[in-house]
């Protein structure tokens, strides 16, 4: 059948439908592919290189998350070149960025045997915390420039286009346009950038505060799926509750209404539910 593609992954034959990526093909063999910038509801940004693999006939390693699968491709995922490259990605990012909350990056370092301190002592993306509103905090020392926030703010979901990557090389950074502060920008505080951030560079203010106070407790959190109480769209909400208080709201990435995205009311407008004693 011409709408099925046959590939070889580490010597194993696999068949995937037309339109699949190399990553899809690898996953069809029950292997997982490490990723940082890839997100199931965003266009691949090709920024992080964590998912690279070797493609027979290609001089350079290819990003499996975005490379379209083609009939007859031969892919190697465990060569020394692939593993070295992934390890280097982890080591370089960990030398410049604070990976305390970057669980995918920590995982990448772990599975590649990366030495987080290998390049330490050089320049870092250390910069002051940006705490200028009561809904979310920006700790850009944790940013790895994966572009997810830019895409969620832009054409992949929100279509607000409040932020983009400005500057070049090591000076590249997420910017709200003309160096403006966030409250003066086009930002509508939907928090969809926060929802897709893989490193904690963007983090809800309540979670940030609780973590600062040492009171964020993963084991004590319950997560309950319900539906938003505002307009009639019917967005699924996951309420993260700690000590009987809602401390964070997300939405399931596979929900047919939201695809994991919410508006400012749904994500942050929950405090009314826990006003007590008045």
């Amino acid at each position: 059948m011409h709408d099925q593609l046959r590939l070889t992954i580490d010597g194993v034959n696999v068949t995937v439908p037309q339109g699949s990526t190399v990553k899809d093909a690898i996953e069809a063999t029950n292997q997982s592919v490490p990723t940082l910038c890839w997100h199931e509801n965003l266009e691949p940004a090709n920024a992080c290189r964590a998912c690279v693999v070797e493609l027979k006939g290609s001089r350079v390693l290819v990003a499996s998350c975005s490379r379209a699968a083609e009939d007859g491709m031969e892919i190697q995922t465990t060569t020394e070149r692939v593993l070295n490259s992934r390890k280097l990605v982890a080591e370089l990012l960990m030398s410049t960025s604070n990976a305390d909350l970057a669980f995918d990056l920590q995982h990448l370092a772990e599975i590649t045997g990366a030495n987080p301190g290998r390049f330490s002592g050089g320049a870092t993306w250390e910069r002051p915390l940006q705490d200028d509103n009561s809904l979310y905090v920006r700790d850009m020392a944790k940013c790895i420039l994966c572009y997810r926030c830019v895409q969620a703010c832009g054409e992949d979901a929100q279509n607000t286009f409040a932020i983009s990557v400005a500057g070049r090389g090591f000076e590249a950074h997420i910017d709200a346009g003309f160096g403006r502060e966030l409250p003066e920008s086009d930002c509508v505080y939907c928090g969809n950038c926060v929802a897709v951030c893989p490193t904690g560079a963007l983090i809800g203010k309540t979670e940030w505060n609780l973590r600062q106070e040492g009171r964020w407790n993963e084991e004590g959190l319950t997560r309950t799926d319900t539906i938003c109480s505002y307009c009639g769209v019917g967005c699924a909400l996951t309420l993260h509750v700690l000590d009987n208080r809602i401390v964070k709201v997300t939405s399931p990435a596979d929900h047919p209404v939201t695809h994991g995205m919410l508006c400012v009311k749904g994500r942050y407008g929950y405090e009314f539910a826990q006003v007590e004693g008045e």
């Binding site: 509103n133 319900t226 307009c231 047919p256 209404v257 919410l262 407008g269 008045e278």
Partner: protein, 548 residues
């Protein structure tokens, strides 16, 4: 209301995903980017896939800024526009003749009624250039599929149902209903407006939108409930207020609503509720309505503290679950209602949400196949779901395209009427009201969290008008209608046209916008004309001078 009359059920006919695969998106009186942001994500996905988007709105909004064309229409003139579009489409023979013949009725009379609605005539009423109306009509008719969606800009008028019928006429004309990528979609303003109607929270309906005047329907429920059901529909909200005015209605039970602030002509509503013999309010807060009550029942926060379902604008019935414990003496809505009945001497069982849902689905057709388990597994289900193997319905009224189309969909002859309150030299400005992205209705929910854009209520005032009146940017001014007077900061904004001013109703504790709005209601839907009231503006020192 309009949808029920034409198709037999009052619900959006499409799914949000139909926006992804449509060729044309026509939003009328809808600021989806602010009022329904996640539906707007679906809309923008359609635009990315190549759809043309046209937004008809008197104001410039976040939605109009994303449109290929913003049709800036005079407030309350929608019927003139859609009748003129129909005129052009029929005159040029661009309508879907097979569909009109096969699935509709009343075309001849409709065509006759729009024969005088030339684009030139509509231009005088709508303020839209005639060639733009002609062009819009031709592009709409040429599109192979079209999603039409509307919100309160259509329904918050004294002729709301006529407005909706006008849009339905357009869809019928080009076969834009009952198939993938085409449909008629009222975007619901509240989380469970659709579910409330579905469950019979309407004066003439029983659960499953079943007609209370139908004896077979009544007998079915009487047998299930072991009680007699009156065949006379109850009052809708407008009729209740009239009955209160005439002292025929002396007690009121208000559940989860704040009419003192949300209804038009607030001062009248407050007086009527104050004059009742008994007012019972069930709410999560001591709202201004609850403050007038003789008895207040503290309730659970429905989305976070109780079990049940909501139905959204694409008919998706979804599970609501308790995530936290409610405080103090608050109780579940179901417990309160059943306990109240019990204390009045009726032997109602106190059922959980799932047991009640199961009872409901046995008594209805549309919900019969929806179970709590299936909702959980499938992330909600879109009614109708006829049995437990039925997959749910992403599109309604596909029958219209089948060899037996069933009851034909009628065109309606609708004529334009201006808003009830005309402008005068005494009240020369048109006040239109609406919502802002970060806030919601009377603010009971949305004014608790701290949003960076929260500066309280303010008026959008065109700079030209401001300069004529000598009003500074941000100056607090007086706004008066025949019904009331408020003070509000006015900011210069070119989002409104000269002569029109805009306010929201999000901060009624500081600025009771609905003291100004008019309680002229649509006789069929009972919705008030929040979108058009005549007001005058004055600087405070002038107002003080006059009073002195």
């Amino acid at each position: 209301m309009g949808l029920t009359a034409v198709f037999g059920s009052g619900a959006g006919t499409s799914s949000y995903e139909d926006f992804h695969r449509t060729a044309f998106i026509l939003l009328v009186g809808s600021n989806a980017a602010e009022a329904h942001p996640i539906i707007f994500h679906h809309i923008m996905k359609g635009v990315k896939n190549g759809a043309e988007m046209v937004v008809v709105d008197p104001r410039q909004t976040l939605t109009t800024k994303k449109a290929h064309e913003h049709v800036r229409i005079a407030v309350g003139s929608d019927i003139a526009l859609v009748n003129a579009m129909a005129h052009v489409i029929i005159r040029d023979g661009l309508y879907h003749k097979e569909f009109v013949e096969h699935a509709t009725e009343g075309f001849e009379a409709f065509a006759e009624s729009v024969s005088t609605w030339t684009a030139e005539r509509a231009s005088l009423v709508t303020g839209i250039a005639a060639d733009r109306i002609e062009s819009l009509a031709r592009r709409y008719a040429a599109a192979p599929t079209c999603m039409i969606a509307w919100t309160l800009g259509i329904t918050e008028h004294h002729n709301a149902v006529d407005n909706v019928r006008g849009l339905i006429n357009l869809a019928l004309l080009c076969g834009n209903v009952g198939r993938s990528g085409s449909g008629l979609n009222p975007l619901r303003g509240q989380n469970n407006v659709q579910g409330g109607g579905d469950m019979g929270a309407l004066p003439g309906r029983l659960p499953g939108f079943q007609d209370i005047t139908d004896p077979d329907v009544r007998h079915k429920f009487e047998a299930a409930w072991g009680t007699l059901i009156s065949k006379v529909p109850g009052y809708d909200q407008t009729q209740m207020f009239h009955a209160m005015e005439e002292n025929r209605l002396k007690g009121l039970f208000v559940i989860g609503e704040n009419p003192v602030q949300s209804d038009a002509n607030s001062r009248l509503v407050r007086r009527l509720l104050s004059d009742l013999d008994a007012l019972v309010v069930q709410d999560i807060f001591m709202t201004p309505t609850a403050e007038l009550a003789d008895v207040v029942f503290p309730a659970f926060v429905s989305f976070a503290e109780s079990e049940g379902t909501y139905t959204n604008s694409e008919r998706r019935v979804q599970r609501v679950k308790a995530a936290r414990k409610a405080p103090g003496e608050a109780r579940d809505d179901l417990w309160i209602l059943a306990s109240l009945a019990r204390s009045m001497g009726h032997d109602w069982p106190i059922l959980g949400a799932q047991a009640l849902f199961d009872e409901m689905r046995r008594l209805t057709i549309n919900f019969r196949g929806i179970t709590y388990e299936r909702m959980e597994k499938l992330r909600g289900m879109q009614w109708p779901v006829y049995d437990e193997n039925h997959p749910g319905s992403s599109v309604l009224h596909e029958r219209l395209w089948q060899s037996d189309p069933g009851p034909k969909a009628p065109f309606a002859v609708v004529d334009w009427e201006p808003p009830v309150e005309g402008l005068s030299s005494e009240y020369p400005f048109l006040l239109t009201t609406g919502r802002r992205l970060a806030f919601f209705n009377t603010g009971v929910q949305s004014n608790v969290y701290d949003h960076p854009h929260k500066i309280g209520e303010w008026m959008e005032l065109h700079p030209k008008d401001a300069m004529d009146l000598g009003i500074q940017d941000g100056e607090i001014i007086a706004v008066e209608s025949k019904r009331g007077r408020v003070q509000v900061p006015a900011y210069y904004s070119e989002a409104v046209s000269p002569g029109t001013v805009f306010m929201s109703l999000h901060f009624p504790d500081e600025v009771t916008t609905n003291d100004l709005t008019i309680d002229a209601t649509d006789p069929q839907s009972g919705t008030a004309e929040f979108k058009a009231a005549a007001v005058r503006l004055s600087r405070l020192d002038e107002a003080a001078g006059k009073e002195a």
